[in-house]
């Protein structure tokens, strides 16, 4: 059955997936509890390398919770318990020989609200490389800062004011600064938690373009409430509902031919 949505067909992820994509991350029967309350009820999901996976679903369905499991950000929340298996390159991220801090350097995160540190633009980018000792001298650091800002499409706008505070940038620029900051530690996966929800349409378009470019080098998982956005930027889409992962398929498939009627209801705007 074909579902007519208000999404134009041309907005669908236009780039065909090139070649076979390996599996980057795997979730098996992931359950999350906040105290006695269960937030996720056994999620199974595979995240493919160099593709964008969009997580959609109504508020409170657990998509952000799932995202935060992937780099163990939930560890910082008290009385939060995670069960099941999450693997990065076949290695259990909750395993004994994985350090949550090291994991977060490999699985970076961009948040809903731009959160630049109250430091200069340069120091914002250099923060990660410094704590991980990535750059051995100044020139190398300068280069990391420049490449990161270029990849985030911010370099031309800020190259003359690297010493000015990052908090002085506009909202969209701040979010790109945060993306650049995440890129600077060369992660393998970038998690984005509604990265455009605080931005205006022009800044959003900018970030979406950027996500599409970043796909070449990184694996991206993005949580979004905006279904056009999911359709535009992702190749795979997973629909979450009430702590369950209802269905996960190619984005085009989800938006044109959803198998589950809950998915159909959500993307046609009947609820959520």
């Amino acid at each position: 059955m074909s579902v007519q949505t208000h999404i134009p067909a041309t907005a669908m992820a236009s780039r065909p997936a090139a070649g076979i994509h390996g599996t980057k991350m795997v979730a098996r029967d992931v359950k999350v509890f906040y105290g006695a309350k269960q937030a996720l009820k056994g999620i199974n999901l595979e995240i493919q390398e160099n593709r964008v996976m969009a997580l959609i679903g109504p508020s409170g369905c657990g998509k952000s919770t799932f995202l935060r499991c992937l780099n163990r950000m939930n560890d910082t929340i008290e009385n939060c318990r995670v069960e099941g298996l999450i693997a990065l390159d076949g290695e259990d991220v909750y395993g004994k020989n994985i350090d949550a801090v090291q994991l977060r350097a490999r699985v970076g995160m961009v948040f809903q609200k731009p959160n630049p540190f109250p430091k200069s633009i340069y120091d914002n980018i250099a923060y990660g490389p410094r704590i991980h000792g990535i750059a051995s001298h100044r020139d190398e650091m300068d280069e990391i800062v420049q490449t990161s800002l270029q990849r985030a499409g911010l370099w031309n706008e800020v190259k003359d004011r690297l010493r000015e505070p990052g908090t002085g940038l506009s909202g969209g620029q701040q979010q790109r600064l945060c993306i650049a900051r995440a890129i600077a530690v060369s992660p393998e996966v970038i998690l984005m938690d509604e990265p455009c929800s605080a931005l205006d349409p022009i800044a959003t378009a900018h970030i979406e373009e950027l996500i599409d470019e970043l796909r070449e080098n990184y694996t991206i998982v993005i949580v979004t409430h905006n279904m056009q956005q999911a359709a535009r930027v992702s190749q795979k889409t997973a629909f979450f509902h009430l702590g369950d992962m209802v269905e996960c398929d190619d984005t085009e498939e989800i938006f044109t031919n959803p198998r589950d009627e809950r998915t159909q209801g959500y993307i046609t705007g009947r609820y959520g």
Binding site: M73, R104, G128, I131
Partner: protein, 460 residues
């Protein structure tokens, strides 16, 4: 006596007024309260205020001016020979009349005219009290009836009551401000008297402090020397030691409380730390003088150092302990105000907790922490009791924390303890010191407040 009666009557009248206003308002609309502009209780308050306030104002005015008025009437009835003196003898005469009237014997045989005046004073006074009672009651009843007559469904009783409340609030805040101004002025005038005797430059830059003055011309004694540098240096030394204790300990306690302690532990720990702030400084003084100072001396002696038994170190250390809660509590609030999103951002980049605190949280909270420290410094500078008890009174100009030193506040306290003559530079020097202290702490507080303001602009 009459005044107490008046106050009781006023209290009764306001209660009656409230009830009357309320019921009359309800009656005026036949019980359909929605038709009233204001809720019935506002009408009640409206009448009560009219009954109580004008009479209270009269009462306040009377209290302020009665003594002067009656005295003027008494003095005008006295023969010229008594009244025609200079201001000083007139003041004496007034004091004599008051003493006689209140039955205080002065030891010398009073002039019969003065005795008569005292009787007259008492009579007028009693008359005044009675008339106050009568007039007060009349005004209160008049106000009550006036307000009651004005009650009407359309009366904006609520707005009027709120306006009165507003005015009352303004008056209360004015009292605080005026008191401050009064304190500053009294300080300023006495200080000016002091600086008329002692050169301000000598005071501010002299290095010898010895405020003893010869009392009589023929007395052998020091002529007084008012170089306040040793006091400033002592204050600085003790404050420095106190801050060296309070800042690291307080700051780390704050970091522990806000970042590491579980919420349950925090709710216990913070009040307990704040109890430290509630201990009277005299008690800290005991501790400093009886426990810390001998301890410091013994340890110093066993190390082969000569330590006086009243040392700046002991006093400064105890003062530091006293100030810990100021630093920790304020810093804790500031650190908590750093948005969680910044911490998340740092964790998301693979930073550890301590890296996050060191590189993100503390820099973001720094302005607030600086303000907390400045408030603590002004507290340390103004602290008197601990130093008086534990650091001694010797005005040494030294940077050695093992010596006895004295501070500005300690000197002020000793200069003003007991009976003092207020025309001697020795006593007046206390006001000079007080003025300097006031200016310094005021400046520190203002800088701290400015810093806090800047910080707020950043995150709200």
């Amino acid at each position: 006596m009459q005044l107490t009666v008046l106050l009781i009557i006023l209290a009764l009248l306001t209660v009656i007024g409230y009830q009357m206003g309320r019921s009359r308002a309800v009656a005026s609309v036949g019980g359909r309260i929605v038709e009233l502009h204001s809720v019935p209780s506002y009408h009640g308050f409206y009448v009560a205020l009219w009954a109580g306030l004008p009479a209270l104002l009269l009462f306040a005015f009377w209290g302020a001016s009665e003594g002067w008025l009656v005295m003027q009437m008494v003095l005008s009835g006295l023969p010229d020979r008594l009244v025609n003196g200079d201001a000083q003898s007139l003041g004496l005469l007034r004091a004599d009349i008051l003493n006689l009237a209140h039955g205080v014997t002065t030891g010398r045989e009073p002039d019969p005219e003065v005795v008569a005046a005292a009787e007259r004073y008492l009579r007028l006074h009693a008359l005044g009290d009675w008339s106050l009672l009568v007039i007060g009651c009349c005004i209160a009843i008049g106000g009550l009836l006036y307000a009651r007559g004005r009650i009407d469904p359309d009366l904006r009783a609520r707005n009027r009551v709120e306006r009165t409340v507003n005015i009352a609030l303004v008056i209360c805040s004015l009292v605080a401000i005026l008191t401050t101004i009064g304190i500053v002025l009294s300080l300023l005038f006495e200080a000016i008297r002091f600086f008329a005797v002692v050169n301000p430059l000598e005071f501010l830059f002299g290095t010898h402090w010895s405020p003893q003055m010869a009392m009589r011309a023929d007395q052998v004694g020091s002529s007084g020397s008012f170089g306040a540098i040793p006091l400033f240096a002592g204050t600085l030394l003790i404050t420095g030691i106190a801050m060296a204790v309070a800042v690291p300990v307080g700051l780390m306690a704050a970091i522990f409380m806000s970042e590491y302690a579980s919420p349950g532990l925090r709710t216990w720990l913070k009040p307990i730390l704040e109890v430290l702030a509630g201990i009277p400084t005299v008690v800290y003084g005991f501790f400093a003088a009886l426990t810390m100072a001998p301890f410091v001396r013994d340890v110093g002696n066993s190390l082969g150092l000569s330590v006086s038994s009243e040392s700046a170190l002991a006093a400064g250390f105890v003062m530091g302990v006293m100030i810990i809660p100021f630093v920790s509590s304020l810093s804790d609030d500031v650190i908590n105000a750093v948005p969680q999103s910044l911490r998340d951002g740092s964790y998301g980049l693979g930073a550890t907790k301590s890296e996050t605190i060191r590189l993100v949280v503390l820099p973001a909270a720094l302005p607030g922490i600086v303000a907390a420290i400045m408030l603590a410094v002004s507290r340390a500078i103004g602290e008197t009791m601990i130093v008086t008890m534990a650091a001694g009174l010797t005005a040494n100009l030294t940077a050695n924390p093992l010596d006895a030193v004295t501070t500005v506040t300690t000197q002020i306290a000793t200069l003003l303890v007991g009976d003092q003559e207020f025309d001697s530079p020795k006593t007046l020097s206390a006001f000079g010191l007080g003025l300097v202290l006031f200016v310094v702490t005021l400046t520190l507080n203002m800088v701290a407040l400015r810093v806090v303001q800047k910080y707020r602009e950043k995150y709200d």
